[in-house]
């Protein structure tokens, strides 16, 4: 029997209504409230405990409530945490979301709950939990609990999931490649989608673009008073590629000293980038990092000073999220040296 822990609020935990919403977290043995209906539908799993907490207590003493609940979880064996269902109740959605997030992020316990699409908790917590698409009021309790039980049984059995839509939960911001069961070709899918679009019939895109994503450039700065760092996505590395920077799909960056150099000579530096002809860079690495020119600009007073390292990754095929993370890491690193502006060299 796999141990499952349930979470409910004071109302569904049968402590009381609005007057008991300040109820502090309590750990109760066994299944309480809707968790009993959930227990009845679980296979080879037992709800060993139910955590009950007042919605107002969670909202107004969030940190304290979560610390108490973390204290419970630390002591217990738990394969899955099931919270709610929370319907369209905003405060309850917040409570369920916070507890699911705590279970997953601090204890790596998979967590699931159920909310109506109108519940603000969906957008806040969908990346931290499986949030099933639930009804807007407790009138839908029976169906919501059944849906939670079905997904819980799958997760507990380690069965592969079919995707957010097929399983009935809100996508967690994770995109995964799947081989279609019917092996329907991309050709057939594309032409059928085109015919639907031409006829004005509904169709479902397989890749949803929600918004245009542009970075507006900042106003110009006066570099003569600033400390500048040079960052490049060109894959420029010392010959021999000591840190094994990949030719595509970077997940890490490297930095190399240039403080004591005036130039980068042929043979000393190469590019490992897999998306352009790196022969030119092998002949003259300064096409990627114009070090001689940068140093001259420093001497001429056009640039205040130059940070003694350059930072590099390979732009080719690097995923956007990784790029954003690496940019933040690099910015944090150069800030330690009071760098105020960055020149981002392109390739």
């Amino acid at each position: 029997m796999k141990p499952v822990i349930a979470y409910v609020n004071q109302f569904f935990g049968q402590i009381g209504g609005e007057d008991k919403a300040d109820y502090a977290p309590e750990l109760r043995t066994g299944a309480a409230g809707p968790a009993q209906a959930l227990q009845a539908q679980l296979k080879d799993a037992e709800i060993t405990h139910t955590i009950i907490c007042g919605d107002n207590f969670m909202a107004s003493h969030t940190e304290q409530a979560l610390e108490q609940i973390a204290g419970f979880l630390k002591e217990l064996d738990c394969a899955l945490l099931a919270a709610g269902p929370a319907f369209n109740a905003g405060r309850y959605g917040f409570s369920c979301g916070e507890v699911c997030k705590l279970a997953w992020e601090r204890f790596h316990i998979p967590a699931l709950t159920s909310m109506n699409e109108g519940n603000p908790g969906v957008e806040l917590y969908r990346k931290s939990a499986y949030i099933l698409k639930g009804h807007d009021t407790a009138a839908g309790m029976r169906k919501d609990v059944a849906a939670m039980a079905a997904l819980a049984n799958k997760l507990l059995a380690g069965e592969p999931l079919l995707g957010a839509d097929a399983e009935g939960y809100f996508g967690r911001g994770i995109r995964k490649e799947v081989i279609l069961k019917d092996h329907r070709s991309a050709a057939d899918r594309a032409v059928d989608m085109l015919l639907h679009k031409l006829r004005g019939e509904p169709f479902q895109t397989e890749f949803l673009v929600e918004q245009e994503d542009r970075v507006p450039p900042l106003p110009p700065v006066d570099p003569s008073k600033l400390r500048i760092a040079f960052v490049t996505t060109s894959g420029l590395v010392p010959a021999g590629n000591p840190d094994h920077l990949p030719s595509g799909g970077s997940t890490f960056w490297a930095r190399y000293e240039i403080g004591n150099r005036e130039t980068l000579e042929k043979g000393e530096f190469i590019s490992v980038h897999g998306g352009y002809n790196t022969g030119y860079a092998a002949e003259n690495p300064m096409v990627l990092l114009p070090l001689d020119a940068l140093k001259q600009h420093v001497r001429d007073g056009h640039i205040g000073s130059l940070h003694p390292y350059y930072y590099v990754l390979t732009g080719n095929q690097t995923a956007k999220g990784d790029a954003v993370r690496m940019a933040r890491e690099i910015v944090a690193k150069v800030r330690e040296d009071a760098v105020q502006a960055i020149i981002l060299g392109s390739t």
Binding site: L161, L162, G163, A164, D165, G171, R172, G173, I174, R175, K176, E177, V178, I179, L180, H183, R184, S185, A186, A187, D188, R189, A190, V191, M193, L194, L195, K197, L198, F203, T205, E206, F207, V209, E210, E212, D213, N241, H244, P246, S247, G248, G249, T251, V272, G274, G275, Y276, N277, T278, G279, G315, N316, Q317, T318, A319, K320, G321, D322, A323
Partner: protein
């Protein structure tokens, strides 16, 4: 315009005295075939091998993939490339189905080569695993050509020559079956006018996406190609490079499922007016120019709708999304077909740049999906190129995954490694879903 492809289904390949075909078995004279494919002496140490679906075989680095084809009327199969200029896409062509020719080297200096597993989890990632493979292994005769720009070209040419030589074995035989294609003028039916736009990854002196009648389309913003020409050897892929996704193989052009499906709809639900090969270019101002040129070509074809294939992921996302939005602005209802780059954890947005006007898209996979692959009993080529050479989908070491190549020959790589993993010409039976 009519094209009749007489087909012979190759159930097995064997080596023997005379290159011939009988009862579903292609017999190949190993020495003669090696001499023919290397008739210009550009390669050395040429050796042929056979791999069959389900075998414990791994092939790397693959530089070319071609279906054996032959024209009984004497025209070159790949006009302008393996022989003199002639029109393709009409008349009679013979094809050996169920097999492919693979050109394989022992190095991959520019990393623009692919891998194929004939069994195991890797086999699911490439339709080529379902085909019998006649592999030739070789090295460039002139080591001076082992550079990032030239290293693949002799292999690619030799693969086309070998494909034509093999299919000539059926020149006096009656085809087992026929594929009949008729690309008639159906304009009087006033059906929606549809074109298939294909973005090519071509960067001068680096990646050469494809050639049309042997003419390199690198740097050419638009080229109009007849659908039947694509199925009949006018388009040759992988002229200079072939990673797992960015460049199409000649095999893929010859059998493109999207072209076949659009031809099946031609005269019924739509008027398939042609294929528009479109370029990709790096500077942002020129991307805008290209988008205008492509939309101008689309509007001069009076298109009502288009299917628009993206070449791969990354820099090309900008060209692609700008063009797609401009097509929609011009009133051309467009469906995109692309692969996503969601990163290893799937938490990346998929495209470096996107536009909400691109509202109808078929996704063929995640190019960064990570796969663990067991060792194979036989490796054709050079497995040690993994970790040494600059493949997009393999690494020498990694903080999370470790080295791609492990001591026992097992691998951890991403989807860029697999031969046409993305299947963007309509092959892919994969998609990407929210989890």
């Amino acid at each position: 315009m009519k094209l009749d492809i007489g087909t012979f289904h190759v159930k097995d390949i064997r080596f023997g005295d005379q290159t011939s075909y009988a009862g579903g078995v292609l017999t190949v004279n190993r020495e003669e075939a090696a001499a023919v494919l290397n008739r210009d002496g550009a390669l050395k140490k040429v050796r042929l091998e056979i791999a069959r679906p389900g075998e414990s075989v791994r092939i790397i680095p693959i530089k070319a993939a071609v279906e054996p084809r032959f024209r009984p009327d004497g025209r070159a199969m790949f006009p302008g490339y393996t022989g003199p200029a002639a029109f393709a896409g009409e008349g009679v062509t013979y094809a050996l189905k169920g097999m492919s020719v693979l050109g394989v080297g022992c190095r991959s200096i520019n990393g623009m080569n692919a891998m194929l597993d004939m069994s195991g989890p890797g086999a699911e990632q490439s339709y080529f695993s379902q085909l019998n493979q006649l592999i030739f292994l070789a090295e460039n005769a002139d080591p001076g050509e082992d550079n990032i720009r030239q290293e693949n070209q002799n292999f690619v040419r030799a693969a086309h020559v070998l494909a034509e030589y093999l299919a000539a074995a059926v020149k006096d035989l009656e085809p087992e079956a026929w594929e009949h294609y008729d690309w008639a003028d159906v304009s009087e039916q006033h059906l929606p006018r549809v074109a298939f736009l294909q973005q090519q990854c071509n960067i001068p002196n680096w990646i050469h996406g494809c050639s049309y009648y042997g003419y390199d389309l690198t740097g050419v913003p638009t080229t109009l190609v007849k659908p039947l020409e694509s199925l009949d050897g006018a388009l040759t892929g992988d002229r200079g490079s072939l990673p797992g996704n960015a460049v199409r193989t000649t095999y893929s052009y010859l059998n493109a499922p999207l072209v076949k499906r659009l031809l099946a709809e031609h005269g019924k639900t739509l008027d398939f007016v042609g294929i528009l090969m479109t370029g990709h270019i790096e500077p942002i101002d020129q991307k805008k120019q290209y988008a205008h040129i492509i939309v101008s070509a689309a509007t001069s074809l009076h298109l009502d709708a288009a299917i628009y294939m993206e070449s791969h992921c990354g820099n090309v996302d900008v060209d692609y999304m700008m063009t797609m939005a401009a097509l929609e602005d011009a009133g051309i209802k467009t469906v995109g077909i692309l692969a996503e780059n969601n990163g290893r954890d799937g938490r990346n947005p998929g495209k470096t740049y996107a536009d909400p006007k691109a509202n109808a898209i078929v996704s063929t996979g995640n190019t960064c999906e990570v796969y663990e692959l067991p060792p194979m009993d036989v490796v054709y080529g050079n497995l040690n190129t993994i970790g040494q050479e600059l493949y997009w989908g393999a690494w020498r070491d990694d903080a999370v995954c470790g080295p791609s190549l492990r001591k026992d020959g097992s691998l951890i790589v991403d989807a860029h490694m697999f031969l046409d993993h993305d299947g963007l010409l309509g092959w892919s039976d994969k998609t990407v879903k929210d989890f």
